[in-house]
Symmetry: C2
Subunit: 289 residues, 2 copies
């Protein structure tokens, strides 16, 4: 998905918000702000928003002299999700439709995203997870279950820390020997890296790879050759979150996007309201983006 | 008031919104967007937001080859306000406290502002005016009445078209021979110019001048020498709206700001919540901005 004009003010707001979370130094805030204004004034708007995100967060890490300024935030969300995990696992097990419950919880986890909602409190996470079990889910759960059942090589693209613990609930509903989980290649915002997959216990149950990139999405040209090869070989890709949606929608490949819609631009693109839970199949007939 | 970092993404959103109202041409939208991104990346952030507004709207007029792209919108709001005027005039006359009612209505008029709320419908205006008569008003009405009673030379700075008709209700509560009304020197957004003062019938009851500037506020250095002289001579300035607030707050002069708070930055600056009606005295002891 190309960057829409409306994404630009939002990306600038997010960048300001991001750098404020990392340092109280106003000079750095102003430098980041000027950098992103200048970069966006010249950028190719056919690129997806994650391309700007990558640039901004690299610059934040550089100016703040920190490889992983969101580590603490990621740990906090991982801890919270791990505390909830046993209860949610029971919930899946005893629900009338464990597949549906697991899909809903995996999408629910997608709200642990500091880039969109910066002041997310833990009690809000719990309330929102509860909501997600009741809300309308847009998408065909049976068709998704069939796609998983027929796939030989499933590539599951994680999104954020914390969320990745809830992804485990869904992954555990799949044939584990067929699943490869991919995380980001390096820290960017609170996106999950290998460390988060380990903390979530996922490295013990499925093969985990990283994509070699530090973009908050999956910019294929920025990913490692190894990841691209996995991506090409997979006959089913499951992509979590808006960053993965924005960067992969339009590819002629069987991809199921599991997204909690967080902004009006993606809402318009998906034809679903902001806030909704979406299971969106891509592929078949779409032009290569 | 300096431009806060948080104003930048908002100004960019407003600019995009403004140009879309004026033309459907996406190439012009993109040019405006790139122009404002570049300009803000280099701007002096000690300037108030109106300095950016001026630049952006000049560029929009230039690219759209239109001297006054908001003329239609201004006429629509003037018409609506003139339709309401006789009813509101009766309301002021028969209220227990005509001064308070007139102040509230003048502030209520301040919501007819296309720069902040772009899709304002007419029924929303009527409902919001009704709300303003009941809501809490932050400020000392008696002290303001005393300031008006003791002043010899009152300069009333109008803000938007439409709103200016409601300003008339308040101006009619004042000694008319002491009041000078100032409008913008040239069209910018839906800010009131001399034409709107005429339509509102104000040129028939008070002296009307223009400030010689096309900024959406009162940037004194950008105003005509004639206006600055009026400004300096006035012993009481009444300034409507956020644009005037942002450009004049901090001056060592007796100014009463009549503002409906429309954004979190001004809310923080004033110490009042977004949406509130504020009558805010400035002056005495403030450093020159």
């Amino acid at each position: 998905m190309s960057t829409f004009y409306d994404c630009i003010p939002c990306l600038i707001r997010q960048s300001l918000d991001a750098v404020r979370r990392v340092t109280p130094d106003k000079q750095i805030h102003e430098r980041i702000l000027r950098d992103i204004l200048k970069a966006t004034s010249e950028m190719d708007m056919a690129l997806p928003p994650a391309a700007i995100g990558k640039m901004v967060h690299r610059r934040i890490r550089e100016l703040c002299c920190s490889d992983d300024p969101y580590r603490e935030s990621k740990e906090r969300f991982n801890r919270l999700a791990l505390q909830l995990y046993p209860f949610l696992e029971e919930r899946v097990k005893h629900s009338l439709d464990p597949w549906e419950t697991a899909v809903r919880l995996a999408i629910a986890g997608n709200l642990m995203d500091v880039s969109v909602k910066s002041n997310l409190r833990e009690d809000q996470v719990c309330a929102a997870i509860e909501e997600c079990l009741k809300e309308r889910l847009y998408g065909d759960l049976q068709r998704f279950a069939d796609a998983v059942a027929h796939a030989h090589d499933i590539l599951y693209l994680a999104d954020n820390a914390g969320e990745i613990v809830l992804d485990r609930l869904l992954i555990e509903q799949m044939p584990l020997d067929k699943v490869t989980l991919a995380v980001r290649g390096a820290p960017v915002i609170n996106d999950a890296t290998r460390l988060d997959a380990e903390v979530a216990g996922l490295t013990r149950i499925v093969r985990v790879i990283d994509n070699g990139s530090d973009a908050p999405g999956t910019l294929l040209h920025d990913c490692s050759a190894g990841f691209r090869s996995h991506f090409n070989d997979a006959d089913l890709v499951i992509a979590k979150g808006q960053g993965n949606y924005e960067t992969l929608i339009g590819l002629s490949k069987q991809i199921y996007f599991l997204v909690r819609v967080k902004c009006p631009v993606v809402a318009r693109d998906l034809g679903r309201p902001v806030g909704s839970l979406v299971l969106h199949p891509s592929g078949s007939g779409h032009a290569l983006h």
